[in-house]
């Protein structure tokens, strides 16, 4: 018995195991050093966590698009980050307009809802168009082909919007009502972060109810289970796939507006690329194809990205740890895909795919 097990245990496994252990040791040392030297106060950590949650809710909304599409087509829609960009970049012009005529301050809810509607519809149109032009003809092609198409689509969309709206940064105006701090459990948290988090959660719950309770949601689940059988049961596959892309696009568009509301850096044509990759990380973290997984994965990734540079890297004595913030998200991605490709919550789809 033991001998058999030993025989099956190849040196690749040993190496990967060592790799894993080394990582855990590094993390533990970093955390231990940071905590024992008491570099930051509890309030500072709380600030980081809340900022991470707000950022994470944006990742989560984008991640849902990846997860929905992956669940149904088993395909990574590499251009999803650009769909997010399309909505955010278009809505910035409306936001500036609404700000100039004063609606964004006199009637902020109406203004923000209008922004979300515009961004979501632009993103939806782009997503559906992309599916029709680039993905549908390739549905039965070898796996690499749609992935390469998606990479091409990603660049084509970036530079289309660069041509259309110009290459400069455009900033969302600050909404006065959203300024200020709120007291949560005794910690002072910027209101805008809470609003973004809350709105994102509302959208996610709505999506969950849609998928679990409506007829179209049931059809989506059926198609993700088995396309051919679903077709035999009378499900219109094309319609389901288009709906999936549309929902993913709408959520990404909304995420674009939230991003604009709480990050003043401005939007431009390349803004979707890295959030797209990170959202993909979030989707993988929660188990790709798994809807609640993507939500929790997004929030988790936001928090990790926000606190880990300070928590681990500074403990290890690495200078200017915040420069390495992005590296953290990618390291997470690599580690999860290598050690637990089915994600935290595990999803049968990961097995089916392999």
């Amino acid at each position: 018995m033991l001998k058999q097990r030993l025989e099956r245990f190849s040196w690749v496994d040993i190496f990967l195991r060592l790799f894993q252990v080394a990582f855990i040791v590094i993390i533990v040392i970093g955390v231990y050093n940071t905590v024992t030297t008491a570099r930051y106060t509890g309030a500072q950590w709380a600030t980081l966590v809340f900022a991470g949650l707000a950022q994470g809710s944006i990742y989560a909304l984008i991640a849902l698009g990846y997860t929905l599409v992956y669940g149904i087509l088993l395909m990574i829609n590499f251009a999803h980050g650009e769909i997010y960009m399309a909505g955010a970049f278009t809505a910035v012009f409306l936001a500036q307009y609404l700000y100039n005529i004063g609606i964004l301050d006199s009637n902020p809810i109406l203004g923000i809802v209008a922004l979300i509607l515009l961004a979501a519809s632009v993103s939806t149109v782009i997503a559906v168009f992309l599916e029709r032009i680039a993905y549908r003809p390739l549905r039965n092609a070898p796996r690499l082909v749609p992935l390469i198409t998606a990479i091409g689509a990603s660049f084509a969309l970036q530079y289309t919007f660069r041509g259309l709206y110009g290459a400069e940064f455009r900033s969302y105006p600050t909404v006065n009502v959203l300024r200020g701090l709120v007291n949560v459990f005794g910690f002072k948290v910027p209101l805008v972060q809470l609003v973004v988090l809350g709105a994102a959660i509302v959208l996610m719950v709505a999506l969950y109810i849609f998928v679990e309770r409506t007829k179209m949601g049931r059809a989506m689940r059926a198609v993700s289970e088995d396309k051919d059988v679903a077709r035999l049961m009378g499900v219109d596959i094309d319609r389901v796939i288009v709906t999936t892309f549309a929902i993913g696009g709408a959520l990404a568009g909304a995420a674009g507006v939230f991003n604009g509301l709480f990050r003043p850096q401005g939007v431009y044509f390349f803004m979707g690329f890295f959030p797209g990759l990170k959202a993909f990380t979030a989707a993988v973290l929660g188990g790709i194809g798994n809807i609640p997984g993507a939500m929790i994965g997004g929030l988790l990734l936001g928090v990790i990205e926000s606190i880990f540079p300070n928590l681990i890297l500074e403990g290890l004595g690495i200078p200017s740890a915040n420069q390495l913030r992005d590296a953290f998200a990618f390291t997470m991605l690599v580690l999860i895909l290598i050690f637990r490709p089915q994600g935290i919550f595990g999803e049968r789809l990961a097995e089916k795919k392999a």
Partner: protein, 574 residues
């Protein structure tokens, strides 16, 4: 399209597709940007060619769908489709008119020009030929009709007229677009006088254009007429062989003489093409042969460049002041080792997961390279400076021409190794693994070893290219090793044809060489890459110079290799 689709449906559909292409090109600013660059005389600019391309495409599509109809009917339909294609352009004129021009002198709250940066009066002027709306719009419609009919002609004419026409157009437009480079070459060969006759600044002289067109036309016409291709295939095989040998010898001579024919600027472009051929050949082993999609391939290029930099630099970061030739093997070695190390953790991953993880590696290493943390070792954002040029027999290779020979030698070496590997046991193992990992493993192929060798050898080639790159540039900075290099390399091997060595060369010439020459296109380079990748995947997934097995695989259905049962197996697998 089924048989009952009415002719009107075809006309409207292709017209709208073509018109929207033109609309798109105008709306993202390509048309206006290139309207300043004249092609022939002072009337025809590259921008106009872009607008026209959509309209011509409309006529082309219509004629293609109506190929079996009578000639006159086909041409009439393409002409109508050209008129339909003008509708989106008219809509664009309308938008510019009411959103921008009419409101120009009013105090507005929402400035549309601020959003759609290219909706300018200048664009409207271009589309109406500067004649104002009343005269310009009818003129535009007439032009579109003519262009549509022309597109129809390109399809419907019999071959012995069609091919010369297309060739004549390609040559005239080609020489017009590359006028600067052509002028340089002509200056090198024939002197300045001819250049002055042919070109007015960057634009072809109309008479010269006409002569080029006529020349290409007559030449192709006589070639088609004499049935050159048929006669070649009818030659006895020994004569064909002789002919091929002569061709190859001529090719080699041309390759060696090239830098002296084309001058410094083009030699530098050729150097970069050669560099990408090396990178592409390396990536071709990983993606084309072993079927492992690697999106972080730039990492190895960067390792090669940094190894060269640190080993030879005369600056403070230089460790050993080795010369280029002793440092180059170390670059290759470092590439091998890192290919091995980064290949190891991803052994268990397949397909798109592998792609994303390698992309992640690429980004992690780029971020680390720019961080302050590692700056004491590799310079951080300031990079490594003062890397000497290679020296051979006391001659410093600081001219692009000299580096061209170096990179050609490198590419030939890499190509030779690739061919030998491809035909070896290892190459067959790679391809077996590409086709089906599980079956390959069941056949007794050691997947771990095979995969790692693919990663390591591919990485070594790229690192060698990196070393040469560093020695040419003299200074290297982390931001030059970004994702775009990986995407470039991937795009070029896909466009050329995955797994095909001539494909890599063709891909590098098209995707790297052309943009190097067309400096004006820099802004739209990535747009064109993106669209090219999509279009290739949709219509010619095997690439321009396909490898045979891959072509069969991708077109299995058309050629009837796969019967119903096999198809069922395929769909369940995917």
């Amino acid at each position: 399209m089924n048989k009952k689709t009415s002719i009107w449906h075809i006309i409207v559909r292709s017209g709208l597709v073509g018109g929207l292409v033109s609309f798109y090109l105008a709306a993202i600013g390509i048309v206006e940007t290139f309207s300043l660059r004249n092609l022939i005389g002072t009337t025809i600019s590259i921008g106009m060619v872009f607008v026209a391309s959509g309209i011509v495409a409309a006529g082309l599509l219509t004629a293609r769908a109506l190929q079996k109809e009578k000639f006159a009917k086909g041409i009439g339909a393409s002409m109508l489709s050209g008129v339909v294609a003008s509708l989106p352009l008219l809509f664009l004129i309308f938008l510019i008119e009411i959103l921008v021009i009419q409101r120009a002198d009013q105090q507005v709250v929402f400035n549309w020009r601020n959003m759609f940066v290219n909706f300018s009066p200048g664009l409207e002027g271009l589309l109406t030929f500067g004649q104002g709306l009343a005269l310009g719009i009818p003129l535009l419609i007439v032009f579109c009709a003519a262009l549509g009919a022309f597109g129809g002609l390109l399809v419907l004419l019999p071959n012995h007229w069609r091919l010369p026409l297309i060739n004549g157009l390609v040559w005239t437009l080609g020489i017009g677009v590359f006028s600067e480079n052509v002028a340089q070459i002509i200056t090198q060969i024939a002197g300045r006088g001819l250049v002055r006759l042919m070109f007015q600044q960057k634009s072809l002289h109309p008479v010269a254009a006409l002569i080029i067109f006529a020349g290409a036309f007559v030449f192709t016409y006589s070639m088609v007429h004499k049935k050159v291709q048929v006669r070649w295939t009818n030659l006895p095989s020994s004569r064909q062989k002789q002919g091929r040998v002569v061709g190859i010898v001529l090719g080699i001579i041309l390759l060696l003489l090239l830098p002296w024919l084309v001058g410094q600027f083009l030699s530098q472009a050729l150097f970069i093409v050669g560099l990408y051929i090396m990178i592409g050949l390396g990536l071709n082993i990983v993606v084309g042969y072993a079927g492992l999609l690697d999106l972080g391939y730039v990492v190895f290029f960067a390792f090669g460049a940094y190894t060269m930099g640190i080993l030879t630099s005369a600056g403070p970061l230089g460790l050993s002041n080795l010369n280029f030739w002793t440092a180059l093997p170390f670059c290759v070695l470092v590439g091998l080792i890192w290919g091995f190390l980064l290949g190891f953790p991803v052994l268990r991953l397949r397909g798109d997961y592998l792609a994303i993880v390698t992309l992640g590696f690429g980004e992690i290493i780029r971020i680390l390279a720019t961080s302050d943390w590692l700056a004491p070792f590799e310079g951080g954002p300031q990079g490594v400076l003062h890397i000497p040029n290679p020296v051979i027999f006391g001659y410093t290779m600081n001219q692009p021409q000299a580096m061209y020979y170096l990179v050609i030698a490198g590419s030939l070496l890499v190509a030779f190794v690739t061919v030998r590997l491809r035909d070896s046991r290892l190459g067959r193992q790679w391809m077996a693994m590409r086709e089906d990992q599980d079956v390959a493993e069941a056949m007794g192929i050691n997947l771990v070893q095979t995969k790692l060798l693919a990663f390591a050898i591919g990485a070594a080639f790229s690192a060698m290219a990196g070393g040469i790159f560093a020695a040419r540039l003299g200074n290297i900075f982390p931001h030059s090793f970004n994702l775009l290099i990986s995407i470039n390399a991937l795009a070029l091997i896909i466009v050329g044809g995955l797994g095909s060595i001539p494909g890599v060369v063709v891909g590098a010439l098209i995707l790297v060489g052309l943009p190097e020459l067309l400096r004006e296109f820099t802004e739209y380079r990535l747009l064109m890459y993106g669209i090219l990748l999509i279009v290739m995947m949709l219509f010619r997934p095997e690439g321009f110079v396909p490898e045979l097995t891959r072509k069969r695989e991708l077109h299995a259905k058309d050629e009837g290799f796969i019967d119903q049962n096999m198809e069922a197996v395929e769909t369940t697998k995917s």
